[in-house]
């Protein structure tokens, strides 16, 4: 097993445009190794684009992106579940291990265990088209976690889930992060989820493609269901919400 702190990232002057319209506008952003960073922002502001740039799936038009370490193991939970339709649920989850050459009798139990933690222990033999929307996203999450990556990128992973399941998975993700240090970049449109999980919340502006707010959440980890109803949490959430609302009211 790796003994890393997770990968750090340094983004400098990142610029990305589509058809002449800038989506990310000379963005600077440092992500510390082991940090849990939440990215929020209005729909269409460039969150997914930023994540794709970090994952090296897309290249910036200008600017540089440096990783603190070589050979970082990255995992990505896409906004769509992206499952291979010809593989059963458990085979989908085990795929990253399979690609790393982990033998069958090691990767299958690991996949099974993970499926249980996302509440899909019984669905392991099903095929993706037999699953509900939320179930697919959970499979996709399990697949991302199975390699215990250094850098975990999540694009609204819990959007299709009900609040209870969501809270459950929030806590699961947190404990995973606490026990196996890794850097997490978490895109979400739930402000409370962002504040609940992250060390730091970054708010992207729509149209401009800048960072409007970069807020350090000074709550100790682990956070628990009790945190959600505590006054400090509600206060931090209020700050983030107000910044978001102000941004949303400002015309582009």
């Amino acid at each position: 097993m790796k003994h890393r702190q997770g990968a750090g990232l340094k983004l400098r002057g990142i610029h990305r445009q589509f058809e002449g319209r800038p989506v990310l506008n000379h963005l600077d952003l440092d992500i510390a190794p082991g940090e849990f960073l939440a990215i929020i922002g209005p729909s269409g502001c460039g969150k997914s684009t930023l994540l794709r740039l970090i994952a090296d799936l897309d290249q910036p038009d200008q600017g540089t992106l440096d990783q603190s370490e070589e050979d970082v193991d990255v995992a990505f939970v896409f906004q769509d579940p992206c499952l291979l339709p010809w593989r059963s649920v458990i085979e989908n989850v085990a795929l990253p291990l399979e690609l790393q050459g982990v033998p069958h009798h090691h990767r299958m139990p690991a996949a099974e265990a993970l499926l249980k933690t996302v509440g899909l222990g019984e669905a392991q033999g099903k095929f993706p088209q037999q699953l509900s929307g939320g179930m697919k996203m959970r499979v996709s999450l399990a697949r991302a976690l199975i390699t215990r990556p250094d850098l975990l990128l999540l694009d609204e992973p819990f959007a299709a889930l009900d609040d209870i399941t969501r809270h459950h998975l929030d806590d699961h993700l947190q404990s995973l992060w606490l026990n196996h240090p890794m850097t997490v970049v978490f895109v979400t449109h739930s402000l409370s989820e962002a504040v609940y999980l992250a060390d730091r919340v970054v708010l992207l502006s729509a149209g401009g493609g800048d960072i409007t707010l970069d807020y350090k959440v000074p709550l100790a980890h682990p956070r628990t269901p009790a945190t959600r109803v505590s006054t400090p949490f509600i206060d931090h959430l209020k700050i983030v919400s107000e910044a978001f609302e102000l941004l949303a009211r400002t015309p582009e």
Binding site: F76, C82, W86, P96, T147
Partner: protein, 261 residues
């Protein structure tokens, strides 16, 4: 209760009876000469009278066509994979696949004969040459139209190109490959027949191509059509075999194709 039309062989049978009936009547009514368009009944009679030879010929051609189709499936898929592996390779060599498709077998018959000898070998080679292109083209399309989102997934997982090929591109291209195989099944039959025209050995009776050629020379139009009918039935048989394979393989993940048949 099962609707009548759901019995697989009933609709084609009914349309067959209808169509042959129509042809028979129109030939009688228009008083067409037999050498032009033989009456279906005359063809049926020829079929009956020469049943044994025709069945033997069909078997002969069928074996060659299946071998040719098998080679096409195997080599066509391999070629498609090679072509898919790099744009440079694709640009440099895809044209030759097209070349293969447009070369008239008769022009290269002597080469076939000299390389494979007269008989089955050359016939199978002809069947292969005629049927391989749809498999290459369709499989290549499949290999190149992999969902970009899934490709991203594999890139992130740092999958080797071999892994990406075998665990993503190839499984995703199977439906395309099978469509190619369906198209190729008929071509394999026609390829074998053309091969027989130019390179079959007559000793063991020969195949459908030989039967057609002889019937043509003897100006026996009824026998020509009987042989053609056998070749079409053979084509259908192989087509159905391949379609069955299709259903079997795609049941799980391919969307709606042929879900009703």
């Amino acid at each position: 209760m099962r609707a009548l039309y759901q019995i697989v062989w009933l609709p084609p049978l009914m349309s067959f009876v209808l169509i042959t009936g129509l042809i028979e009547c129109s030939i009688i009514l228009m008083d067409l000469p037999a050498y032009l368009a033989p009456r279906p009944s005359a063809v049926a009679l020829a079929l009956w009278m020469h049943a044994e030879e025709l069945l033997k010929a069909t078997w002969h051609t069928g074996v060659a066509a299946l071998l040719g189709l098998g080679m096409s499936a195997l080599l066509g898929a391999l070629l498609a994979i090679t072509l898919a592996s790099h744009p440079l390779i694709r640009r440099a060599f895809y044209p030759y696949a097209v070349f293969f498709q447009t070369v008239p077998i008769i022009a290269i018959a002597p080469m076939l004969v000299i390389w494979f000898g007269y008989g089955q070998g050359a016939v199978v080679a002809a069947s292969f040459i005629v049927s391989v292109f749809p498999i290459i083209a369709n499989t290549l399309t499949g290999l190149l139209s992999t969902d970009p989102a899934l490709l991203d997934l594999f890139r992130i997982a740092k999958a080797s190109s071999l892994h990406t090929l075998f665990k993503l591109r190839i499984p995703g291209a199977i439906p395309h490959f099978l469509t190619g195989l369906r198209i190729a099944s008929g071509l394999a039959v026609i390829g074998a027949i053309v091969g027989e025209f130019v390179a079959d050995s007559y000793e063991d009776g020969g195949g459908i191509g030989t039967a057609v050629e002889i019937a043509l020379k003897e100006q026996r139009t009824d026998l020509v059509f009987a042989a053609v009918l056998m070749s079409s039935l053979l084509g259908l048989l192989i087509f159905w075999l391949v379609s069955g394979l299709n259903l079997l393989t795609l049941k799980r993940w391919h969307l709606g194709e042929f879900k009703d048949s």
